[in-house]
Structure formats: C-alpha cells, structure tokens
C-alpha cells in the first residue's frame, strides 16, 4: 500500500490543485461582472438544492463505511438532522442532534 516513493504523488497533488482552482475560478474570474441571462440566473438559484441532495443521498442510503449496506443509525441520524434543520433553521443544532443520534444508536446496535 506504500506509494510514498512514487513521484506521481506530486503530479497528482499539483494537477488536482491547479485543476480545482481552475474550476473554482472559471465563472468568477472569466465571466466577471458581465450580465447573465435570466434563465441562467434562475437555474443558478437552485445549484445548492439541486446538486447537494444528489451528492449525499447515496452516502445516506449506501454508506461506503458499511460497504454500501443500509445502516439504520446513519439513516435515522440523517432524518433527525433533516427534521431539526427544517423545523428550527438552526444548522448547528441540527448537526449536533444528528451526530448524537448517530453515536448513541450506533452504540446500541
């Protein structure tokens, strides 16, 4: 498993670093203050809510840590976090209660 001798590690680090910066800078840097069409802005209002659920849904139902098997403590913690976050709009309370749920249920099963 040891690849520390492999000089490719620095190639990966620099390529990922520059590539990721490029992606982050793409619109902010190149588009700048140019006016964007209404339909683009309308789509952009839904970037967070359109992208993040698709990213996390598989992590909730099929966690890598359990080899992709449904895990009740994780699923219940996710539901608790969603409910608390929706009800209170308090991000910190939602994460905390979800985390406590995950830990305590995880200890019980």
């Amino acid at each position: 498993m040891n690849f520390a001798q492999d000089s490719n590690i620095w190639l990966v680090i620099w390529a990922l670093g520059l590539g990721t910066f490029g992606l982050r800078f793409l619109f902010l840097g190149l588009v700048g203050d140019r006016k964007m069409p209404v339909w683009v802005l309308r789509h952009l209002r839904y970037t967070a809510v359109g992208l993040l659920p698709g990213l996390i849904a598989p992590m909730v139902l099929w966690p890598d840590a359990t080899g992709g098997m449904l895990d009740w403590p994780r699923l219940i913690a996710a539901i608790v976090t969603l409910a608390v976050g929706y009800k209170t709009k308090n991000i910190f309370a939602a994460i905390l209660l979800g985390g406590i749920c995950l830990y305590t249920i995880g200890q019980m099963v």
């Binding site: 902010l28 359109g50 403590p73 994460i95």
Partner: protein, 237 residues
C-alpha cells in the same frame, strides 16, 4: 434594523462559518490520518490539503492511487468530483463578480462546500447586502473554516492511527449538508429540485467518475428552474 459596518459582516461571517469548522476539522483530521497511513509524509499530506482544499476529492485520489489506478484516471476522477465547484463559482458570480481580480482569485481559492453554502444562504436571505459587504462576509466564513482545515490535517497526520474507530466520521459530511439544505426547503421549487436531485443521485450512483453527481445537479437545477417559472411566471425576481 441598523446596517452593520463592513467589519461587522466579517465577524458575522466568522460566526456563521464557525459551526462548519466543527465538521471540516474532523474531515481534515480524517484525511491526515488516512493519508499518512497510506504512506504519505506529513509534508505531502499538508501540501495536499493546502493546494487542493477539497476533502472528498483528496480522499478519492488517495483511494484510487492505492488501487494502482493510472495517474490520469486518478486526476480526472477527483476533478470530476470537483466539477460542482464550477457551479458554485457560477452561482456566486452575480453576487461577487464585480470584485477586483485578486479578490475573486482569493474567493476562488477558498471556495469549498461550506463557505459556498454559508455565503449563498446569507446572500439569498439578505438581498439588501452590497457587493463589498458580501465579499467581506465570504472572507469571514473562509477565515473561520480554511485555517481549521490546514491545522486539523496536520494534527491528523501527526496523530495517525490513535483515532478511536467507533466514531463514524464518514457521516459528518452528509449530516452537514442535510442541516444546510433543510432550511432552504422553503418553497415548492426548492423541494422539487431537492427531490429530483435525490432520485437522480440514487439512479446514477453507479456511473463512473462520479458523473452521476453532475447529472443529478443538472436535473435538480432544471427541475427547480422549471418549477419556479411555472409557479411565478417568466420574470420572477
């Protein structure tokens, strides 16, 4: 309600970002542990976190490198996971696009899931904020999460194997995102966009190079925009 001074927005950004450092911290720590266990030196591990600043992509790259994946595939896969950063960049452009070039470069460097989500939430809830106020707020958030990312990567690399295994750190990221998204589900278009994204994310989960996440994002955004236009008409906002 009085309008706070610009420095007030910096402090507000620091405070709003602070809860995320509790999540970014363990994630950085986790990366530090995993990377050094995989054979990276402390310097390589820290360089990784400072230059890339994207935990999920870094862990993906590490995992693939250990599977003897061709370097090109390692880089492309991890970058594919970061394609969402381009969407974040696009999403912030209407708010910060008029800032100076170096300021936009600094924003780009510190554009991570947490700084993006915290800032866009603030901008959407406070449309009266000016560009300099928005910029100051963003740098406040970045100042509270980015140094924590460096520091905890370093500590994780130092501590190595001594982390207790009964704490499921892998689930910190999904919980944070759920907590961030829940308050956003305030209108029908937002709810439909999230639902469409979940369904697409699950359906396309097995697509290579995490392309399913991008597809889910495009579908979720399209459903949100379509629903908004249907509900509020062509020239809403």
């Amino acid at each position: 309600m009085s309008i706070p001074e610009p420095s007030g927005f910096f402090i507000q950004g620091v405070l709003n970002g602070a809860p995320h450092s509790l999540v970014i911290g363990p994630f950085g720590f986790l990366f530090g542990v995993v990377a050094t266990e995989a054979g990276l030196s402390i310097f390589e591990t820290l360089s990784f976190s400072v230059l890339v600043v994207a935990g999920a992509a870094q862990l993906t790259a590490l995992e693939l490198m250990q599977d003897n994946t061709p370097t090109v595939i390692v880089i492309l896969s991890a970058l594919a996971l970061n394609l969402r950063m381009a969407l974040y960049s696009a999403s912030l452009t209407p708010h910060l696009g008029t800032a100076r070039f170096w300021q936009r470069a600094a924003v780009a460097y510190s554009l991570v899931d947490q700084s993006y989500a915290t800032s866009i939430l603030q901008y959407e809830n406070n449309p009266e904020m000016t560009m300099p106020q928005k910029l100051t707020f963003f740098f406040g958030v970045a100042a509270s999460v980015i140094p924590v990312w460096y520091l905890l990567t370093f500590l994780g690399a130092l501590v190595g194997q001594s982390i207790p295994t009964d704490i499921p750190l892998d689930f910190a990221t999904p919980l944070t995102f759920i907590a961030l998204l829940a308050p956003l589900l305030r209108s029908l278009p937002h709810i439909l966009a999230a639902l469409a994204s979940v369904i697409a994310g699950l359906l396309f989960h097995t697509m290579p190079y995490n392309l399913g996440i991008m597809l889910a994002g495009v579908i979720g955004m399209s459903v949100g925009a379509w629903s908004e236009q249907r509900e509020f008409g062509e020239h809403h906002r």
